[in-house]
Structures are given as C-alpha cells and as structure tokens.
Amino acid sequence: MGTSLDIKIKRANKVYHAGEMLSGVVVISSKDSVQHQGVSLTMEGTVNLQLSAKSVGVFEAFYNSVKPIQILNSTIEMVKPGKFPSGKTEIPFEFPLHVKGNRVLYETYHGVFVNIQYTLRCDMRRSLLAKDLTKTCEFIVHSAPQRGKLTPSPVDFTITPETLQNVKERALLPKFLIRGHLNSTNCTVTQPLTGELVVEHSDAAIRSIELQLVRVETCGCAEGYARDATEIQNIQIADGDVCRGLSVPIHMVFPRLFTCPTLETTNFKVEFEVNVVVLLHADHLITENFPLKLCRT
C-alpha cells in the first residue's frame, strides 16, 4: 500500500475538557519517501441540527434556523512542504482546547436530531498527481463537573389501572398493583439510574418489564420549535412472570456518547426521560414516564 496517515490521541478514552491541551501524534507511514505540500491539523466542533420529517412541513419557516452551529474551528500547520523519509514518521502535536468569545464547549452528544461532535482532521496536501490525504478522528469533550452537590430527587410511584391515562376501556384491564421508586431523577451521567420495582399483585401474568431511555430533542427558537422523543435504548429488567412481592432492581447504565448532561440553549435542547414499561399477557402495555435531569459531577 501507499502512504497512510493516522492520528493518535494521547488519552485512551479521548476525553478532554475545556482548557485542556489536546495532544497526540500524527503518524505517517510509507514504504517510500513521501513528497508533500505541507501537513495541517484542524480541530472542529459543530452542533448539527436536523428537523424530523413530520416537523419539516410544519416549520418550513424555520428551515434556516437549523443550520449547523460551529463551536470550534482552528487549524495549525504541522509540517512545511517537503519530504517524509520512508518508514514511520511520528509528528507530535499539542492543541489547546479553547473557545473563542462567548461560545460554549458543549459536551459530545450523538443523537438523532441533534449531534454535537468534535473532530481532529489531518490533511496532507500533495502535488497534483498524487491525491491529498486526509484522516479524521473524533475526540470527546466532557463539560467540566458541575459544582455543588447533586441533590437527590427520589420518586415513588404506584401503578394501578386507576392511575393510568389514555385508557380506552378501563373495565377490560386486569387488576394489578405495581409499586416502585427511583432513587433519584437527578442523575449523574456516569452513574446508573437505580431504583426498585415490586409487582405486588397482578391478575394477568407479566411478560416483561423494561426501562426505556428516551431522548427529547428540541430544535428551534422562540418563534417555533420541533420537539422529538426517540428511544436511545430499551433495557429489560424483568423477563416473564416475576415473583409477586419481590423487589426487582431498576438499574440502567447511561450509554456513553448517546447521553450527555441535560442541555438547554437558545437554538436547541437535549433532554432525557425514562419510561417504565410493563407488558402484560394479552398485550396490555403500561407505561410510566419519568423526566430525568442528567448532569456531570
């Protein structure tokens, strides 16, 4: 093979905070010596917003409001035009992670309608005959831990046929009583969501109990916005007809990249919710929704 270009970030987890020095090496390996017109490294950070299909028609007026927001964009020239010897050449780099002006370094977040992504791009410009070489590498930005203690906000819940909304024929519902609690709806993203759930009683056999982690992404501005809730993950915590009266643990790890501290800006919002979903035999589906507030401590 010809010449290859690679970026190696020093930290194994590629996680950096604002103000830190992003360091690493660019690796150029080639059998033969490589002629080039210079190597540059670009750091980029953008928020990509997208409107869901159902929103597009309605909010055409705001089409413009969803153009990408640039957080970071700076380039450094690493190597002046010249020639790399054959073999492996490692060029170390250091990139301070600073934002200009009043911009905020949001946490990395991979969503559906909102994406916050940071990349390092290395470009090797070459003569007309040879193609330019480019290598992109994502790094992850975590916001600084929020000061102050996270105040726990436990929630107790009871689900019975009576507590349900959106029921077509309440009389047809089997009797059940499910109690539980979440240890806190204020969560640290690095710690799991915990709690307990007890099926005290149920006429119908339980098929499954699940925790559905949902992201609620809002794009738009004061004049109008698109708000979409989508599933991030669905974690089954009970499979089959669980023992009555025995508490089943609620435990869910927040997935990295797909969750971030709850975020609210003028142009977009990222929020999270959890649904406790109980599936009974005969296809009854019971959902209890809990908004979460995520943060990083």
């Binding site: 869901s52 559905q212 007809d241 025995l246 089943v248 643990p249 435990h251 599936l279």
Partner: protein
C-alpha cells in the same frame, strides 16, 4: 565284589497279585448298626461332606461352614464390638478424611482460592449432560427480529425506527436469521459446538463484535424453556460458550497490559493496568450494559465478571450483589435458579471469599420458591405434558451447585440456619434433597436420623422420596453416622427402598445404599441386600435396563470385601452375578472382580495369595452339565491369567477333571462327541503345560495329563505327554528353588520317576515303535543325565526300573486302566517280549553292579553297604531266587553289605527274620536254604 558278577541274568519272580492281596487283607468284621465304633460318626459325616464338596461345584452349598454362632448385629447394636471399633479407627478412609480435614484447615487461611476439596463444575457437567436428555425435537432461534416483536412493541411505537449502532448489536450478522427447527438432541449439541467454534473463530479473526453477538444469541437460548427436560443440559452447553467468551475477553485485556518491560502479575491491582486496557474493558461493560434483554445481559456480564479486576479493586464485590438482585427479574423459576447457579459458579471461581452473594442467592431463591407451584409454571407443565415428579428434579443440578458453593467451608451455624430455613418452607423435598446433596457429608451423616425424620415427614409435592433416600445414601457412603444409629438408619432406609415399585427408581437408590451396607455391616447384611436387589430386578428381566447400576453394586461390594473367600461365601453373590446375562457386560464384571484381586505388578507373595483365591474361584465356577461351556470358561480364564502360574496349573487340573467327569458321565464309553470333547480337553492341557515355568510342575502335569488321556482312551495323546515328559527330564537343573532356597533336585526327580514308572506299567506299547519304547527312551535319558558325583540316585532309579520290568513280565499286571489293553494282554506273555524285557533287566543290573564296584573305596563303603542291601532287597522281592545265579548274587550282596562292618545289625536281623518267615509260605521253600547261607556278622 569281583568282575565275575558282571553278567547276571534276571529272572522275575512270578506273582499272583490277587492271591497276595487276599492274603494281606484283614478279615472284615461287619458292624451292626447300633454297635459302637470310635471312628464311626466321623467316617460317616466325612464321607458325606466329601461327596457334597465333590459334587457341589456350584459352590454355594459348601460355604455354610463359616457361619458363626454369635450374631454380629447384636454386638454392633451394643456398640461394644471391639472388632468394629478397631476397624473404625484403623480405617484408612477415616485416616484420609482426617488428613483431608487438616488440609481444609490450612486452605481456609487463604480464602481467595478455592481448595481442591471443592468439587469443580467440570465434574458435574458430564453427569448433567448424561442425565437430562430428551427425545423431543429442539429448536435454536438466532435472530433478534422475531424477538423484537415480543419485547419491543413499546419501543417501535415510540421511536422513529431509527436504529442506533447499539441496537444493531443484537443482530448476529447483518440481516441474518437463523431459525433451526426439528433438531434432535445430538443435532442441538452439535450446533452449539459449532457456535462455540465460530465464537473462537470470530475472536481469532478480530471480529470482537461478532463474537459478542454470538454470545448474546447463545445466552438468549437460555430463556427458552420449551422442551424443559433438556434445560439443565442446555445450560451446561451454553455456559460452556460463556466460559470460553469470558476467558477470551479476560485474556485479551490481560495481554494489553503487557508491555515490553513487564508482565502483569497474577495478583495485580487496577493501578498497574494501563489506560488502553482499562478503556477496552470499560467498552465491554458499556456494550454489555446496553444489551436489551435481561437474560443475555445477565449471562454475558456474569461471564466477564473477572474483568472487573482491571477497573477497580471493589468492582467484583460491587458487581456480584447487583447481578444477584438482577436475577430477581427472571420470572421463570427454573431459568432463574440456573442463572443463580451460574453466578455462584463464576463467583466461586473469581472471588470465593465473597460469600455474601452466595447466601443472598440462596435466600432469594427461597423467596421465589413458591412460584414453582404457581399458575404460570403449572400451565407450562400442562402444555409440555411434563409431570411434577419429573419437573422438580430439573432444579437439582442448579440447587445442588448453589448449596455446594454456600456450604463450602461454611460454619456449622450457617448450615444449620439454612436447614432451618428449608424446614420452614414446609420441609420441602426438593430443598431437602439439595441440602443433602451439597452439604458436607459429615454434616449430613451425623444428623442422619434427623434427616430420615424429615424425609418421612416432608411434603413430597411431586419430588420423589426415593431420590431423597438416594441423596442420603450418597452422604453416608462418604461419611459415617454415629455408631449407635447405623443399623437403624439402614433399616429405616431399606424399609422405604424395598417398597419402590419401579425397578429403575429402586436400583438407583439401592445402588447407593450398598456402599453404606458394605462399609458398616457384615456379609450377612450385604447378602440380604443383594438378595433384595435380585428379587426386585429379576421380574420382567428388569436387570437388562440397569446393568450400569448393577455393575456399580458389584464394584462396591468388591471394594469392601478384600478377602476373596469371604466374598464368595456371600451366598447371593453368585446369583447376583447371574443377572449379568449380556455377554459383554458379564465379561466386564468378571474382569472387575478379577482386577480387584490382581494386577500385573503384584509381588510374588501377593501373587501367590491372589492365585490361590482365583483358584478358589475357578474351582467354584460350574456350568453344571454344560461341559463345553465349562471348557470355554477355562479357555477364557487361561487367557486372562496367563501371568499366574498357579492359576494355569489349577486350570490344567480342572480341565483334566472335566475330562474325567465326562468319562464318568459316559461310564467309560465315550461317544463320538464326548471323545472329541475329551480330546479337546487333552489338547488344552498339552498346549498349556509348556507355558509353565516350574520344571517339576510341568513334569508332573505331563504325567498327570497323560494318565487322564490314557484313562480316556486317547492313547497317542498319552504317548505324546509321556514323550514330552521324557524329553523334559534332561532339562531338570541340579538345583531348584523351593520356597526361596536352592535345593538339590535329585530327590524330586527320583520321586517323579518312580511315579512315572508306575504309570508306564500300564501304558501299552505303540505298534509302530519297538518293544518297551518309552522305557528305553527313559533309560537313555537317565543314562545321559548328569548326576551328582557322589550320589546313588541313578542306581536307586535303576533299582526301580528293575521293579518295573519285573512287574511288566508278569502274566497279568497288578493294575489296569479300564478299556485300555496294557502290554500283558497285548503280548500275552510272548516269549520275545519277555526276552526283550530280560535283556533290559540285565543291562540295568550290570549298571547297578558296576556302580557298586566303584564304591569300594574307604569313604564310600557305607554307601556301598546300603546300596548293596537295597539291591538285595529288590532281588528278594522281585527276583526268582530259585535261579542259582541270582541266588548267588544275593548271597554276595549280603556279604557285601556286611563286609566293612557298615551294616546296621538290626536291619540285617530283621531282614533275615523276614526271609525265614517268607520261606514258610507256599512255594517259597527255597528261601529256607537261602537263609542258611546268609550269616549275620557280629559286631566286634
């Protein structure tokens, strides 16, 4: 003695054996029935027992002798039997157990390592796979899509069908769906093995995500409880894959910690782990945490539990309780108990010191125990057509394992508490069974009576009681209950066991209890047990389905009866063996019996004892009138014990005896068939004898077998034996080893030859060979044999030959073999034959006299005297002294014997008296004259 004596003719005295016999016999006085005779009672019983033991080759009748008057049972009851007390203390097993416990104490110090006294999972695997099988069709479904409909209705309702990378994890391969239906059990096992292989392949080719997918799909199969009776085996198969996966991940991360400089020590701390390794490890945990379904998420995380070591010191201790709690979410009690078993298994492997979680698993299990009788489970059983008694035992492997983990090195208090908890749950049979299976045998054994009480009381609720007794029996095989309870335990247990109707249930239970019986009781009880087994297993040939258990019983019995004779005196032992009717199984069992008593490395002495025992056994085996079967048994025995000379000897004797039995049955008139059979027997001996080492053993057996062949009218075969014996004589060494001491062999040779001569009298001459062919051959061999320089044995033998030849020259021989014409009737006193005979006599005499001459030296005079007198006696007994030359020779010998004052005067006086006495008998007048010519030398 002068040279004149050199050529003396021999003249045999004519004998009328019948008349001689009659004149020697005492007059028989008939004894009235009531008359006293000191020997009478003994003679009568002796002759009777002898008869029985001869006839009774079936062995069982002759065994009654060893029965004792004292009831051993009663003495055991007292607890004062000194023998059994002694046995208890000297028992090597008890010693081993004591050492074991001391080792356990040592192990306890390092609780982070499971000692070798913990029975590993690997031991259980095979047992479970063998026990939980099915003939029903199985299916494997390896696709998330179909599952999605079941679980993910909510999600699809909610989401925009946008699949994130995370969700795709659940697919095995892009768009692939594998649903395999109608698999037989073997197919299933093969498929799982394939998956195991493809996991390894995927890993090797760096497709980590694919590997994870495979593991997820596999563990998902554990949530499927269709064909429930196969579930325990399925668990075993799939957790094998999980173990593989766990190991791969651990090793991979471990290898990442190895840099050029150092290798991570076994007991590393998380600080020693580099960031890349940590990150990789975290990645695995995050990936696993996002697995949608509970059961695969649980299993996969549990499988890499060990990897927590890379991340933090407390990782495992935090993870275990969480995973334990997680199992609560599994609704199916069977699936959940196996999940617990897996967690305990991983826990014991990774962090055995964390006992809390083990206990928690047990207590959680108790909490969910009521589910078994709930509607969901019951409905499922109805659908699958499975009865509760076959459903409940499905729990046992998992529960046994959990209990075993908990009870390992557990304090007595905990065990007692667990027992109490089980009791509280209505004394449930299933729990009780697992307690007995898993708790320390000593713990159970000392409480045997309590357990029996509980078993009796307990609510069976579908769990068969015989399994409970089986478990108890297993404990009692390992540990001893209090002495005072032993008999009662056996009685109580056997009371239940003997009532079991189903032969399979019965034998599974009985098999276990045999060990206990053998261990603590005498052959009487063992006999009773064996009798009971025979009784249960005989109807409908139930034994045919239970050979493994029956074999195991035999093995246990053999292991405890070290004395072969005691073993075979257990009356029901042989009838028990009779149940092994399938050829290969029977051979197998016999081999076991023999192996128990023999191996190629045994020492000489031990070998002898063993050989003795086996001989005892061989003598006892009888196929009744099926002589051919009997012979083939001997053939088989020969191949089995070819390294035990005494056994081969016994076999030859047995075969000879068989030939004689045949003769007896046919009353001496062989049919074509029996003649052939007898020849087969003879051939057996003929080919077996050369394989023996002992020279005299061979000689005697040749002679003996020759006699048997002769008795069965196999003349040419008999000749062959005798010829073989004759040609073997030159090989007789000067010295032979007798009981470890080297002794001169000549006296033995003398003895053998005398015996041989007696036989040769009746052996008819072969028509194609010359007169007295065998005798000549023998004489040649004797002539050529290198005798000791200063020994007279050769001459003694010649003297015996003279006796033989004299006997051969008689008109009618002293004895005959029925249906065999000896030389007397063959030649009918033919003069040529007699002449030949006399010629031989002369040669022999010449040899004797020649020898006497050589003894005329100072140091040999005593020998000359003795030998001379002996020769004199021979002439007196067998020669015709009316012949002058012979008469003169005898007088000369008399003088020779006395010449140098070496003769014992007393003997001479007695001899002379004898001659005088004989002279008074009719036709012996000439001896009077002889007596006058024999002066007695007075000692000066």
């Amino acid at each position: 003695v002068t040279g004149k004596m050199a050529a003396f003719p021999w003249h045999s005295r004519h004998r009328n054996y019948k008349a001689e016999f009659a004149s020697c016999q005492l007059e028989a006085v008939p004894l009235e029935f009531g008359d006293y005779h000191p020997l009478k009672p003994i003679t009568v019983t002796e002759s009777k027992t002898k008869k029985i033991s001869r006839k009774g080759s079936t062995s069982s009748t002759s065994s009654s002798s060893s029965s004792s008057v004292v009831d051993p049972l009663s003495s055991v009851l007292d607890g004062t039997d000194p023998l059994s007390m002694f046995a208890a203390t000297a028992d090597p097993a008890a010693m081993a157990a004591a050492m074991e416990s001391s080792r356990k104490k040592r192990d306890r110090d390092d609780s982070s390592i499971v000692g070798s006294d913990f029975e590993p999972w690997a031991n259980k695997r095979g047992e479970i796979l063998a026990r939980y099988t099915t003939t029903e069709k199985l299916s494997i479904n390896l696709f998330m899509g179909s599952e999605k409909g079941r679980v993910g209705t909510a999600s699809s309702a909610m989401s925009e069908k946008v699949r994130t990378r995370l969700e795709e994890l659940d697919d095995f391969e892009e768009g692939s769906q594998k649903e395999l239906l109608n698999l037989t059990q073997q197919d299933y096992v093969n498929r799982i093995e394939e998956l195991n292989q493809s996991l390894k392949d995927a890993w090797a080719s760096d497709q980590k995500v694919k590997a994870l997918k495979i593991v997820i799909q596999c563990s998902k199969l554990l949530s499927d409880t269709s064909v429930i009776q196969f579930y325990p085996s399925k668990f075993v198969l799939i957790t094998d894959i999980l173990d593989t996966f766990g190991k791969l991940v651990y090793e991979r991360i471990f290898s990442m910690c190895v840099d050029n400089r150092s290798i991570l020590p076994d007991h590393f701390s998380p600080e020693n782990v580099n960031d890349t390794a940590k990150e990789t490890c975290l990645n695995w945990f995050f990936k696993i945490a996002s697995i949608r379904e509970l059961i695969p998420r649980f299993y996969v995380e549990a499988s890499i539990l060990k990897c927590n070591k890379f991340l933090s010191k407390t990782g495992i201790s935090e993870c275990l309780p969480r995973l334990t709690c997680m199992i609560r979410g599994i609704g199916d009690p069977l699936v959940s108990v196996y999940a617990r078993a897996y967690l305990c298994r991983v826990g014991m492997e990774v962090a055995p010191q964390l006992k809390e979680s083990l206990n928690k698993n047990f207590f959680d299990f108790l909490l969910t125990f009521k589910q078994i009788h709930g509607d969901t489970v019951q409905n499922q059983l109805v659908v699958q057509g499975v009865e509760l008694p076959s459903y409940l035992p499905l729990y046992s492997p998992a529960m046994d394992w959990i209990f075993q983990c908990i009870s390992y090195h557990a304090p007595e208090v905990l065990l007692t508490e667990m027992m109490e908890r089980c009791k509280k749950l209505g004394n449930n049979a299933l729990l009780l069974n697992s307690v007995m299976s898993a708790f320390r045998a000593e713990f159970v054994a000392t409480r045997s009576m309590d357990f029996i009480g509980m078993i009796k009381e307990c609510d069976e609720s579908g769990f068969p009681k015989h399994l409970l007794f089986r478990s108890l029996g297993l404990n009692l095989a390992l540990a001893d209950p209090p002495e005072s309870d032993r008999l009662q335990i056996l009685n109580e247990a056997w009371k239940v066991i003997t009532k079991l109707k189903n032969p399979q249930d019965y034998i599974n239970c009985a098999e276990v209890w045999v060990e206990y019986t053998c261990k603590h009781f005498t052959k009487r009880e063992v006999n009773t047990v064996l009798a009971d087994v025979i009784k249960h297993m005989t109807p409908d040939r139930a034994f045919e389905d239970s050979y493994p258990q029956l074999q195991s019983i035999i093995k246990k019995v053999i292991a405890h009866f070290h004395d072969f004779s005691v073993l075979f005196s257990v009356e029901k032992f042989l009838p028990f063996l009779d149940m092994f009717q399938k050829e290969c199984v029977r051979v197998e069992v016999c081999k076991h019996i023999m192996e128990a008593f023999i191996n190629a490395l045994t020492l000489e002495d031990e070998k002898r004892t063993l050989a003795h025992l086996i001989n005892g056994f061989i003598k006892m085996v009888s196929f009744g009138r099926d002589f051919e079967q009997q012979l083939s048994f001997y053939v088989e025995s020969r191949s089995m014990f070819c390294n035990l000379e005494p056994v081969l000897v016994q076999l030859i004797h047995s075969v000879n005896r068989l030939a004689m039995e045949t003769r007896k049955v046919m009353k001496g008139n062989h049919s074509r068939k029996t003649a052939a059979f007898v020849r087969a027997c003879v051939a057996y001996c003929f080919i077996t004898i050369p394989s023996l080492v002992g020279i005299f053993t061979r000689l005697n057996l040749y002679l003996h077998s020759g006699q048997v062949a002769l008795a069965n009218q196999c003349l040419s075969q008999a000749d062959a034996f005798f010829k073989a014996a004759i040609s073997l004589i030159p090989e007789v060494p000067k010295m032979i080893n007798i009981d470890g001491k080297m002794r001169p062999s000549e006296s033995f040779l003398l003895e053998f030859l005398c015996n041989f001569f007696s036989t040769l009298l009746v052996v008819p001459d072969h028509p194609e060979h010359g007169v007295l062919f065998l005798v000549r051959e023998l004489l040649n061999v004797i002539q050529d044999y290198t005798w000791e320089d200063n020994s007279d044995d050769k001459i003694r033998i010649y003297t015996c030959v003279l006796h033989l030849l004299s006997a051969m020259s008689q008109e009618t021989y002293l004895y005959h073999i029925d249906k065999v014409d000896s030389n007397d009737s063959l030649y009918g006193g033919d003069s040529k034959f007699l002449a030949e005979n006399n010629k031989l006599c002369e040669t022999v005499m010449a040899q004797i006299l020649e020898h006497l001459k050589t003894l005329a030296k100072d140091e040999a005079l005593k020998r000359q005297s003795l030998l001379g007198l002996s020769f004199f006696n021979s002439i007196l007994a067998h020669g015709d002294l009316r012949n002058n030359k012979l008469n003169q020779l005898s007088v000369n010998l008399w003088h020779l014997a006395q010449r140098h004052g070496c003769a014992d005067t007393r003997t001479m006086v007695k001899t002379l008296d004898y001659i005088k006495k004989r002279s008074k008998q009719p036709g012996m007048n000439h001896l009077t004259e002889l007596a006058l010519r024999l002066p007695l030398q007075t000692r000066t």
